[in-house]
Symmetry: D2
Subunit: 180 residues, 4 copies
C-alpha cells in the first residue's frame, strides 16, 4: 500500500485531498502534473548526466522515474516544481528552475494504456521541464537512489524498460532534442 493520499488527516490543509477524495477526482477530470528531468551540465550548458530516481513500487519491484507530481489547488506551477524537486532530491540540490514556464514538451498520461504514456491511477497532463541541478542530491522520502546516467544510457532501451508509466518516452524526446 504505497498509494497514499496527499495528507492522511481528517482535515487536510488547503489544496490537499484525502485519499478517497483524490481517487474520486481522478476519475472525473485530468490532473495537472509537472515532470522534471534533473540534469548535470558543464560550464557550456551541455548536459553531461541525466538523473533518474530509483523507487520501490507497490509490489516491491524497483523502477526508475522522473521527479513527477501533481499541482495542488491554489499552488503555482513554480511552487509545485520546487516542492517536488525538494521532496525527491533533498534541500541541497539547488535546482535551477526555468525562467520561462513554457514546457519543453507535454506528457499525456492515460489510464487505459492506449498511449505511450499511461498511468493506471488517472488521466494526467504534465508540463515537462529540464532542470539543471547544481548542488548535492540526496535521495529523500520514497526514493532509494538517484542514478546519474550519460545521455546515451538514459535514452537506451535497457533503461527505458525499467521506467514507470512509459516515462522513457519523455526522456527520449527531451534528451535527444538537445543533440550530440
Amino acid at each position: 500500500m504505497t498509494e497514499t493520499a496527499d495528507y492522511p488527516e481528517p482535515r487536510p490543509p488547503a489544496g490537499w485531498l484525502t485519499k478517497p477524495d483524490l481517487d474520486r477526482v481522478r476519475a472525473e477530470v485530468p490532473m495537472v502534473y509537472v515532470d522534471a528531468i534533473p540534469v548535470r551540465v558543464n560550464p557550456l550548458g551541455t548536459v553531461t548526466a541525466v538523473g533518474l530516481l530509483l523507487r520501490s513500487g507497490e509490489d516491491d519491484t524497483l523502477s526508475r522515474a522522473l521527479v513527477s507530481g501533481r499541482v495542488r489547488h491554489g499552488e503555482s506551477v513554480r511552487d509545485a516544481l520546487l516542492r517536488l524537486l525538494e521532496t525527491d532530491l533533498g534541500t541541497m540540490a539547488f535546482p535551477q528552475l526555468p525562467a520561462s514556464l513554457a514546457p519543453i514538451t507535454i506528457g499525456e498520461y492515460l489510464p487505459d494504456g492506449s498511449s505511450s504514456l499511461h498511468d493506471p491511477r488517472q488521466h494526467a497532463v504534465s508540463l515537462v521541464y529540464l532542470v539543471p541541478v547544481l548542488g548535492d542530491c540526496q535521495p529523500a522520502n520514497e526514493v532509494l537512489s538517484i542514478d546519474w546516467l550519460s545521455p546515451a544510457q538514459a535514452t537506451s532501451d535497457e533503461v527505458a524498460a525499467e521506467m514507470v508509466f512509459g516515462q522513457a518516452e519523455l526522456v527520449r524526446r527531451v534528451v535527444r532534442l538537445l543533440g550530440s
Copy 2:
C-alpha cells in the same frame, strides 16, 4: 445563468460532468485548460490579424475572449483543441493545429485575483497555442462575433480592458513574441 454544466442530463457521456459535480471538482484540483489564439497569416507566415471572440457575459455585458475550455477526462489535448475551435469558430474554419504540442506559453488562472490571470470559478492551468485559421470563421454557439484585429490593436490597452479573465496578458505575451 450562462454558467452551464458540460452536459445537463442525469447521465452524461464519459468525461462530461454535471454542473454540481463540476463545481465541486473545481474547488478540489486545478483544471487542465487549453487557450487558442486564432490568427490569420500571410504566405510568409507573418500574423496579419488576431481573432478575438465577442461574448455576452453573465450580466449581459459584452466581453472579448480567447477560444478556451477544459480538457475532459479521457480526451486528448488535440481533441479538446479541435472541439473548442469548432464550437466557437464553426466547422469551416480549418484551424491549423500545431504539429508540436509544446505550448508557446502557459496560463495560470487563480480564483482569488492574486495573479494577472484570474477566473472566479476555478484554478486552471492552460496550455496556450497560436492557431492559424485558413477557412471561413462563423461565430457559433455563445459567440456573438469574431473580430479580426491587427496585432497592434489586439495588444492595445483598449482591447485589454475588454478581455475576460486577464487574457490580454496571454495575447500580449504571444503576439509580441512574434516581433514586428
Copy 3:
C-alpha cells in the same frame, strides 16, 4: 560539377555571390542557413508523413536531404524559407510557414566532421523549422523526387544512412519531439 554559385553572371543581383566569392566567404565566417522539414498533418495536427528530398549528388550517387539553403545578404529569414521551399517543392505546395520564427532546434554544420552534422563546403548554423505543406508537391530543379515517409521510417537507421550532412540527426530530434 553540381556545386554552383548562387548566380553565374559577372554582376549578380544584390545578395547573390559568384562561385569564387562564395567559396572565399565560406572559409571566413559561418553561413546563416535555414533547414525546413516538410510534413503532412491530419486535421488534429498530428504529423502523418515526413517529406525527404531525393537528390543526385556530385558523384551521381543518390542521397536524401531536407529543404535547406543559405539566407542571402538583405534577405529575411521568412523570404529565404519560402524561396527554398518553392525551389524544391514547386509553387503549389502551400507551405505553412511558422508564425513564430523561434526555431524548433538549430543545426551546427562543421566542415571537419567533428560533429554529427558536417558539411565539407562550410561552417553553417541553421535555423530548423517544421513546415506543414497543404498542397501538391512536385520535385523541382535538382530534386529527383519527394518521398513521404512515416515518422517511424523517417527516423529509422536505414533512412539515416541515406541522408547527406548528418541531417538525420535533425529529423530525429524534431520528429521524436512530437511524440507518438
Copy 4:
C-alpha cells in the same frame, strides 16, 4: 574609432578576421550572431532583474546593450556564448548557459533601418538566449557598467530609447513572454 577588427594583427588566429576583411564579408553575407540577456532569478526561477550593459559609443554617447557578438568560423554557438559573456561580465559571473540551444526568439538586424532591429555595419541573424547569472558580474573591456533593472524597467519606453540597434525589441519580446 571604436569599431575594431576581431584581431588587429596581420596574421589572425583561425576564425578571426582583420578589419578590412570583416568589413568586406559583412557586405556579402548575413553574419551569425548570439544575443544573451543576462538575468537574475530567485529560487523559483522567476526573473527578478535584467542586466543591461552601459557602453560608450563611437561618438562618446552612452548607450545600453545586450551581450552580443558574432560566432566565428569554426566556433560552436556554446563557445561563442561563453566567450562573449566572459568578455562583458567577467569570469566570475557563472552564467548558466541553456541546455537546449533552441533560442527563445531570433533577431534579424538589417543595415538599412527597414526593421525594428538595425545595425548600420551589417545584416546579422542572432540567436537570442536568456542567461541566468549566479555569480559576481564585473564590467569588463568596453563595458562601463552593468545595470540590473526590474523587468518592468527593462521593458519601459525610457530604457528602450537608450538601447542600441533597436535591441529593446528583443528585451520586450523575451521578458514579457515570461509573464508577471
